[in-house]
């Protein structure tokens, strides 16, 4: 596709359940990023992939959060035992190279609501 695609666009889940959020980056982009944005706040960094490997996962809040990118393209963010505080918009972005000063293209996000 032309842009970064995230699915689903909205997800409502019950507290304690497991969820997966998917990101399809722009074709050929080697770098992929996940951010989380709570209401009224700016996005917060979660994890950055360069190819298949997580180059920086320092933003993952705890071990309930995990992300993979097995073939260096699509990425899945996995959240176990969801809590109400996990409710947020989860944003994915990709960029062509791994270098600094490179524009990142964001998807429309997945709005996760934990009830």
């Amino acid at each position: 596709g032309a842009g970064v695609s995230q699915t689903p666009s909205n997800k409502v889940t019950e507290k304690g359940k497991y969820v997966e959020l998917r990101c399809d980056p722009i074709s050929g982009h080697t770098a992929l990023y996940w951010y989380r944005q709570s209401l009224g706040q700016g996005p917060e960094f979660l994890i950055y992939f360069q190819g298949t490997g997580a180059a920086d996962d320092s933003g993952l809040p705890n071990d309930r959060f995990f992300a993979v990118r097995p073939e260096g393209s699509v990425s899945t963010l996995k959240i176990q035992r969801t809590e109400r505080g996990d409710s947020a918009v989860y944003l994915c972005a990709s960029s062509f190279t791994g270098g600094r000063n490179t524009e990142a293209f964001f998807g429309q996000g997945t709005r996760l609501t934990v009830v």
Partner: protein, 113 residues
């Protein structure tokens, strides 16, 4: 928190007027970026200014950077109703990975026709 701060938090102007938003940050940076967000969803990259640059222009946008004051400003000239959105600054800070941008809380701009 290393998060940057934008001010004002909200700005309301008439179409045709200029809008100025400011951003302050706390740590040394490699570059600073400005993004726009409509309706709390996808972010659109507007402009990137490197730490060794002082000013940059793109269309109706003008960004300045003062690394001695750890601050940046975004000026939108001749605003339009379609410019209504939230605007965020994000810093690529020295010592962080290239993917780890620190975003501020944003300025909510409303341009009235």
């Amino acid at each position: 928190s290393q998060q940057g701060e934008e001010d004002p938090q909200a700005l309301s102007i008439q179409e045709g007027e200029n809008a100025t938003m400011n951003c302050s940050y706390k740590t040394s940076i490699n570059n600073l970026q400005w993004y726009r967000q409509n309706s709390g969803r996808g972010l659109v990259h507007l402009i990137l200014i490197r730490s060794n640059e002082r000013e940059k222009h793109s269309g109706r946008l003008r960004v300045t950077l003062d690394t001695s004051k750890k601050s940046s400003s975004l000026l939108i000239t001749a605003s339009r109703a379609a410019d209504t959105a939230s605007y965020f600054c994000a810093t690529d800070f020295t010592g962080g990975s290239q993917g780890n941008l620190i975003f501020g809380k944003g300025t909510k701009l409303s341009v009235k026709p």
